[in-house]
């Protein structure tokens, strides 16, 4: 079920923020193109805070050891581990909706 998590304005352009959605920690990102992405908040490698990572349109780079994860498939660039990707969108009234 998809549910509203925050206003898109709560996410600075190009950055990530973390939220708890139904007891799960989720990192939301607002891309420069305007789209949003949602993935699990902790890096599977060493628990790094992915919401603090740098992003572009396709990847997030974990701030601890610089592993890059594809924001669509969840796969790590080197093939080491992957993260959960959650479908999400911005609604007409500017809310970011995530489904777990």
């Amino acid at each position: 079920m998809s549910r509203p998590v925050c206003s898109v304005e709560d996410l600075p352009v190009g950055e990530g923020r973390a939220y708890v959605v139904d007891g799960e920690q989720v990192a939301l990102f607002r891309h420069r193109s305007g789209k949003v992405s949602a993935v699990q908040a902790a890096c599977p490698h060493a628990g790094g805070p992915l919401a603090d990572g740098q992003i572009d349109e396709t990847v997030v780079v974990c701030p601890l050891h610089l592993t890059a994860f594809d924001l669509t498939t969840g796969e790590a660039a080197g093939g080491e581990g992957s993260i959960a990707v959650h479908p999400c969108r911005v609604t007409a009234d500017g809310l970011v909706e995530v489904s777990l």
Binding site: Y19, V20, R32, A41, A42, H45, L50, G81
Partner: protein, 806 residues
């Protein structure tokens, strides 16, 4: 049908697939453990925390699906009905087969003793074992490991890295007695004891003590080693249960012929469960050989392929110590030649055993540079140099390149993943022309990593100088195909003042690239000191919150402490802040400052406000700190006021962005108490008002004494020359290139000509531009009172679980 989902079984399957076996066989794999196929050798790294579980998987579950392999993970096979050609599993299932491969591996061996049934007694063999040990390590303090072979040492090391008190009990007289002689065992013991592990050799365990749960390990003299848990790592035995129940011929292991066939037609066996020509093996190398022979045979690729046994050599890293052992650990006959070099203090022990002019044994401990040549000599029986010491040291024996060329194709280079020199050469022939590509294709070097240098040498040799250097190496950042001078010219020409603008105008397809953003932000801020179009996502997290991210997602805060000088009042305030925010640790840094570690992200602005001190720049790619000694003010030897000069330097150049971090030191005499000779910029008072300025020093992962740039006659000249060097480095240094790489790249003579003699007429411009950077300095901690972005200081791992707005 494959019974066994471990390294041997799956290696055999991979070899089959390589030879087109997917067309000939529908493959079913039974595995006891509910996982894909992982690298058992790497379990010790999981235990020590150096690797994650994910990283040790050779083939995760999707691989089986991609290759149409029916994996029955977590299903134990009970017996094989060879007449009906059906396998019975523990779930009551019956699965027919045409050809069966037994690869059941081995199981831990339990020495006879009381108390093995107590709680808290573990083995160390499977991923689940590693997990249980990890859990126990977190909640207990004392562990006893029984067994001082490879596995026991790895277990002890892994547990010690978690801070446990570890006792290791080994009944033979020295450690790793299977592979090492007594003297090498003693040198290894020293290294193990340096890790804080207490080693008891020549001691058989009398029994485990405790009621319900294990409490200690009793030795023959009645001593009881207290233990919260015990790990039994006393060896392994071939796992022959299924074979015995199925009526196969079994001695110590499942008996096979040279084609890996058991006593039943259509039932084969490989790996540690096998006994071949009376020999059983507990290492990976034989298992790769066996898998190859089996696949050749089953697919008909080489019907006459035969396995003739493997001369085992062991190449591993035990508890952080490199160990190579092949053949005999010491002389056996009167006329065996034995050359030994031992340096126990350094943890180095080397020997070779030579019989009739041939190498029949070698041990290398702590210094394994001669591995390639010795492996070759051992495997092939090469004639040896007359001067035997040259087997251990480079005294005219083949240099590295020659020895790589001479290695035969079937020499195993990577033991973790069973990759031979031939496979690497094939990968290069198949189009892999960079080391990364070879590693990606063959998996060589992707296990413990100890073979990486050899993989690189072989790749270079095989590519014959045609090694492609990734062309992006010359680019300033990976996402924009321009070297730094061209990039700067384009930015200036087009007046680009934001990271997005650079991507839009200069990146292929205008595509932004996360890994390029930080470098571009730094470059733009250097080029436009009056200000750029600030985009916070262009900064690394440290530069977004002006603190240093730590492993748990908290941050560390370092207040400015110019020249290492502080006041009682500042110390009191730091102490108060540390108390108030319950910081995890207060620590003096290597740069003479005080680090408050473990500060929550959301507390950063409050911490800064309460401290009321400027940022000390312990986080960025920027000018960080100036270390000083006491200088002339109090020191008996000080020739000049280094403390004041350090403070002046730090005041002037604080916070300036540089290609990589920049650390300085100033000392009042050549005694060098603040280690100025190994700083990016080091200044040394030599008396009579004169100062030496050194650049390009390092005392980190690389140690390098700086090069003398100039000797100047006043503190003012030091300030000027330092600024000129900083700006030169900012403009010409590559992104993330430290000065210890930058200065040697250009050569100190060139740097001196440009900066001191002004040979290129650059000096005035450099001075002017660094002045502009100084003039535009602003303490980033002021952002604490007015956040730049929404939620700038919101926790990113919401441990406190702030509620979702609904």
């Amino acid at each position: 049908m494959v019974v066994g989902n471990g390294m041997a079984g799956i290696r055999a399957v991979e070899e089959l697939l390589d030879r087109g076996g997917a067309e000939q066989f529908d493959i079913t794999v039974f595995g006891d453990e509910p996982y894909g196929n992982y690298n058992r050798i790497m379990l010790s790294h999981v235990l020590s925390g150096e690797e994650t579980e994910e990283a040790i998987f050779l083939n995760a579950l999707p691989w089986y699906a991609q290759n149409s392999i029916d994996l029955r993970a977590g299903v134990r096979v009970d017996r094989i009905d060879r007449f009906a050609k059906v396998v019975h599993d523990a779930d009551g299932g019956r699965t027919p087969y045409d050809t069966l491969l037994l690869a059941t591996g081995s199981t831990p061996f339990f020495p006879t003793m009381e108390g093995l049934d107590l709680d808290g007694v573990f083995t160390f063999r499977t991923l689940d074992d590693a997990r249980s040990l990890l859990t126990s390590a977190k909640t207990h303090r004392r562990a006893v490991v029984i067994g001082g072979g490879l596995l026991g040492l790895e277990a002890a090391h892994g547990l010690a890295t978690h801070g446990l008190q570890v006792d290791l009990v080994h009944s033979p007289a020295h450690l790793m007695n299977q592979q090492l002689g007594p003297e090498a065992g003693r040198v290894l013991r020293r290294k193990i004891e340096e890790l804080g592990i207490r080693v008891h050799t020549g001691v058989r365990t009398r029994g485990l003590r405790g009621t319900g749960r294990v409490e200690g390990v009793e030795l023959p003299d009645g001593t009881v080693l207290e233990a919260d848990f015990v790990v039994i790592a006393a060896g392994i035995r071939p796992n022959v249960d299924v074979a015995v129940r199925s009526g196969l011929e079994v001695e110590r292991g499942v008996v096979v012929d040279d084609r890996m066939r058991t006593s039943h037609p259509d039932v084969y066996a490989v790996g540690e469960c096998v006994q071949h020509r009376g020999q059983t093996y507990g290492l990976v190398a034989p298992l790769w050989d066996q898998a190859g022979v089996l696949a050749d045979h089953l697919t008909g690729a080489r019907p006459d392929a035969e396995y003739h046994g493997t001369r085992t050599s062991t190449k591993l890293k035990v508890a952080g110590v490199d160990v190579v052992a092949m053949g005999l650990p010491g002389p056996e006959r009167d006329d065996d030649e034995f050359v030994v070099f031992s340096e126990p203090h350094r943890g180095v022990y080397l020997n070779v055993v030579v019989r009739e002019g041939r190498l029949v044994g070698a041990t290398l401990l702590g210094d394994v540079r001669k591995t390639a040549f010795l492996t070759q000599a051992f495997d092939q029986g090469l004639p040896l140099p007359e001067e035997r010491t040259s087997l251990l040291f480079d005294l005219g024996s083949p240099d590295e390149a020659t020895s790589v060329a001479e290695l035969s194709d079937d020499v195993q280079v990577c033991n973790c993943n069973g990759v031979t020199k031939g496979r690497i050469v094939d990968a290069v022939a198949g189009g892999c022309t960079s080391i990364t590509a070879v590693m990606g294709k063959t998996k060589a070097g992707k296990g413990c990593g100890s073979c990486k240098p050899l993989v690189e040498q072989i790749t270079e040799w095989a590519a014959g100088g045609d090694l492609t250097v990734d062309e992006s190496v010359g680019w300033y950042v990976p996402g924009v195909p321009l070297a730094k001078p061209e990039l700067m010219a384009a930015i200036r020409e087009r007046g680009l003042k934001s990271v997005s603008a650079v991507f839009r105008e200069l990146a292929p397809g205008g595509v932004e690239d996360a890994k390029s953003k930080m470098g571009l932000t730094s470059l733009l801020r250097m080029m436009w000191p009056e200000g750029i179009e600030e985009e916070r996502d262009g900064r690394y997290i440290n530069d977004r919150v002006h603190a240093n991210i730590q492993r748990d997602g908290t941050f560390s805060v370092v207040p400015q402490m110019k020249g290492g000088v502080t006041t009682p009042e500042q110390l009191r305030k730091i102490a108060d802040v540390a108390d108030k925010y319950d910081v995890g640790m207060v620590k003096v840094t290597g740069g003479q400052r005080i680090d408050l570690l473990g500060v929550a992200k959301e507390d950063l602005p409050k911490v800064w406000a309460d401290l009321g001190m400027p940022s000390g720049y312990a986080y960025g790619k920027s000018f960080r700190t100036v270390k000083t000694c006491v200088g002339s003010e109090f020191c008996r030897f000080g020739l000049d006021d280094s403390t004041q000069l350090g403070i002046d330097l730090e005041t002037r150049y604080q916070g300036i962005e540089t290609p990589a971090k920049l650390k300085l030191g100033v000392v009042g005499c050549p005694r060098n108490c603040a280690e100025a000779y190994v700083k990016d910029i080091g200044v040394v008072a030599v008396g009579a008002g004169k100062w030496e300025v050194y650049v390009g020093g390092a005392a980190g992962a690389t140690v390098r004494k700086g090069d003398l740039l100039a000797t100047v006659g006043s503190a003012q000249e030091v300030l000027t020359l330092t600024g000129r060097f900083i700006q030169f480095y900012r403009e010409w240094g590559n992104w993330l290139e430290r000065t210890y790489e930058f200065v040697p790249r250009l050569g100190i003579e060139r740097v001196r000509k440009v900066l001191v003699d002004d040979s290129d007429g650059l000096a005035a411009g450099l001075d002017e531009r660094v002045q502009a950077a100084v003039d535009n300095y602003r303490d980033p901690w002021q952002e604490g009172t007015a956040p730049v972005t929404t939620g700038q200081f919101r926790p990113a791992l919401p441990l406190g679980m702030p509620a979702v707005r609904s």
